[in-house]
C-alpha cells in the first residue's frame, strides 16, 4: 500500500460489498471534483463483470479496455481514453471475453504494478459489488480505501462482511511474508475446537498464539483504515449512521475508519444518470454537489466530517 516513487499516483479504491449503493456515482463525482481542482486523475473501472463508469460520465463505451492490456499487451497508458472532463482520463475494465475469475495471479500483479506507474496525481479505481478475493485484492492496493453505504440494513450488513474479509486478506498477505500463511485458515477450519464463533474471537485467538502473531496483527490493524461515505440519506438524523458504523468498526471489530461525509438523496441524480449526464457538471450548485465537494476535501485531508453542524 505504499507508493513506489515520488511520481507514483495516489491510489483510491472504492468498495463496500453491496451493489447499487452508488459506488460508481460517488467515485466518478469525486474524480470530477479532483479534476476540477487541477489534479490529474485517471478513473479505472475495475468492475470487470459490469463496467459502466463511462455512462456516469456521459460518454460512449470506449473501444479499448483492460482486455487489450491482458490479451494484446497494449501498454496501460495507451488504454486511457478521454473522459470528456479536463484533467481526467478513463480506463475501463474488460467488458467481454475476459471473465472476472479468469485473471491469473501473475496477471493481476502485473496490472497492479502498471497502475502504480501511471502518470497521474490520483488513480481512482471502481470495484464491483461483492467480496470476491480479486475485488478485495484490488481494494487493498489503495493508499485510501473508500466504502460506500446507504442507510439500509443490508448495505451495512454487507459492509461488515466486506471489511472482515478485506482485513483477513490484508493480514494473510502479510503473514505469508512471515511464513505464517496458513495460520488463519487453519484456525478457522478448526474453529469448533477453539471455540471461535466470530471475527473478534478469531482475532483474539490468533493474538494469543504467539507474541509475533500479536505484533503482526496489531500492526496490520493499525495500518488498515477505511473511509466511509454514507450515500442517499433521507433525513438529517441518518447522518449519524456514519458515526455509528465507525464506532462499531472500532469498538467491536477493532478496525479504524474515518467517516468523511454523506450525500443526500436527490432524485435528480438518477435522472442525470439515465440521461447520461454528469451530475457534478449539470448541477454544480446543488446540495449534493456541495456535499460531494466537502467529502472530497475530507478525503484529501484524511479527516472526519464535522458532525457538529
Amino acid at each position: 500500500m505504499k507508493a513506489i516513487n515520488e511520481r507514483s499516483p495516489e491510489i483510491w479504491t472504492i468498495g463496500g460489498g453491496k451493489g447499487g449503493t452508488g459506488k460508481s456515482f460517488v467515485l466518478s463525482s469525486v474524480g470530477i471534483c479532483l479534476a476540477l481542482q487541477g489534479k490529474r486523475v485517471i478513473l479505472i473501472d475495475a468492475d470487470l463483470g459490469g463496467a459502466n463508469l463511462h455512462t456516469f460520465l456521459g460518454i460512449n463505451k470506449p473501444g479499448i479496455s483492460l482486455t487489450d492490456f491482458f490479451e494484446k499487451k497494449v501498454p496501460l497508458p495507451d488504454l486511457v481514453v478521454d473522459s470528456g472532463i479536463k484533467n481526467m482520463g478513463l480506463l475501463i475494465g474488460a467488458i467481454h471475453s475476459l471473465s472476472p475469475d479468469g485473471i491469473k495471479y501473475t496477471q493481476k500483479l502485473k496490472l497492479f504494478r502498471h497502475i502504480k506507474q501511471l502518470n497521474a496525481d490520483y488513480v481512482l479505481i471502481d470495484l464491483g459489488a461483492g467480496a470476491h478475493f480479486n475485488t478485495i485484492d484490488t481494494f487493498l492496493l489503495a493508499d485510501k480505501m473508500l466504502v460506500v453505504i446507504i442507510p439500509e440494513i443490508i448495505a451495512i450488513e454487507n459492509l461488515y462482511f466486506f471489511l472482515k474479509n478485506a482485513f483477513f486478506r490484508h493480514l494473510i498477505n502479510s503473514l505469508g511474508r512471515h511464513g505464517l500463511k496458513d495460520v488463519v485458515q487453519k484456525a478457522w477450519k478448526n474453529r469448533d475446537e477453539h471455540d471461535i464463533k466470530n471475527f473478534t474471537q478469531l482475532i483474539d485467538y490468533l493474538k494469543g498464539l504467539s507474541k509475533t502473531m500479536e505484533n503482526i496483527i496489531n500492526t496490520k490493524l493499525s495500518d488498515f483504515r477505511v473511509y466511509i461515505i454514507l450515500n442517499r440519506i433521507n433525513t438529517s438524523q441518518e447522518i449519524m449512521i456514519g458515526n455509528s458504523v465507525k464506532s462499531i468498526c472500532k469498538k467491536y471489530f477493532g478496525l479504524n475508519s474515518s467517516y468523511v461525509g454523506y450525500i443526500e438523496f436527490d432524485a435528480v441524480i438518477s435522472r442525470c444518470i439515465n440521461k447520461r449526464q454528469s451530475f457534478m457538471q449539470a448541477y454544480p450548485a446543488s446540495r449534493c454537489a456541495k456535499e460531494i465537494e466537502r467529502l472530497t476535501e475530507n478525503l484529501l485531508e484524511g479527516r472526519d466530517i464535522s458532525t457538529k453542524l
Partner: protein, 186 residues
C-alpha cells in the same frame, strides 16, 4: 485526572482533543443509544455482539463520560455561580432527579450549566429554536396547542437526559392553568 486518562476517555467517546462539554455530552448520548438499542447498524451483528460485550462497552462509555465531566468540573471550579453553592457536575443527574418543579427558567439553567445551545437541541429534536426559546421563557401565548407543546417539552427534556414525563407533567400543568385563565383563544 491524568493526561493519559483524559486521552483514553476522549478516545472511548470517539472525540478529538479539546472537545467541548456539549460535544462530549452529545457523543455520550449517541454512543449510549447505539450500544443499548437496536438499530440497522447493530442488528446485522446482533448474533455476535453479545450482551456481555455491549455491557462492557457501555461501562467504558459511562466511565469515560463521568471522568470527563469531572475534568471539566476541576477546570471550572473557580467560575462563579448564580445558584450559590453550585451542584457539582457529577451530581447533576441526582440534582435533576430531586427537582420537582421544572419552570422554563429552571430548564434554561440546567441547559446552560450543561453548556448546550438551543440550536443543538433544535437540530437534534427538529423543534424550532423559537419554540424552545418560548418554552424557556414560558411564553405560553406563542406556543402551539397542548399536544404539540407537550411533545416539544418531552423532546427538550429528553435531550437534557431529564425525566421527560416528570418535566412535561409539571410544565404542562402551568401551561394548562394559563390557558384556562386566558380563555379558549387557542
Amino acid at each position: 485526572m491524568s493526561r493519559e486518562d483524559y486521552s483514553k476517555y476522549l478516545e472511548t467517546l470517539e472525540l478529538h482533543p479539546g472537545a467541548s462539554l456539549s460535544e462530549i455530552r452529545k457523543a455520550y448520548q449517541h454512543l449510549k443509544a447505539l450500544y443499548s438499542r437496536e438499530s440497522i447498524v447493530t442488528l446485522p451483528i446482533e448474533d455476535e455482539l453479545s450482551a456481555a460485550v455491549k455491557r462492557q462497552i457501555l461501562h467504558q462509555i459511562e466511565e469515560a463520560y463521568q471522568g470527563l465531566l469531572v475534568s471539566f468540573e476541576e477546570e471550572e471550579d473557580t467560575a462563579e455561580n448564580e445558584m450559590g453553592s453550585r451542584p457539582a457536575m457529577k451530581n447533576y443527574e441526582q440534582t435533576s432527579v430531586e427537582l420537582t418543579t421544572f419552570t422554563g427558567q429552571a430548564l434554561r439553567k440546567i441547559r446552560e450549566r450543561l453548556n448546550i445551545d438551543l440550536q443543538d437541541i433544535a437540530l437534534s429534536t427538529r423543534v424550532q429554536t423559537q419554540y424552545l426559546n418560548d418554552i424557556e421563557l414560558e411564553n405560553f401565548e406563542a406556543l402551539p396547542p397542548v399536544a404539540y407543546t407537550r411533545g416539544f417539552v418531552i423532546s427538550y427534556a429528553d435531550y437534557l437526559s431529564l425525566d421527560s414525563k416528570k418535566v412535561a407533567d409539571d410544565y404542562m400543568s402551568r401551561y394548562s392553568a394559563w390557558k384556562d385563565e386566558h380563555g379558549k383563544k387557542k
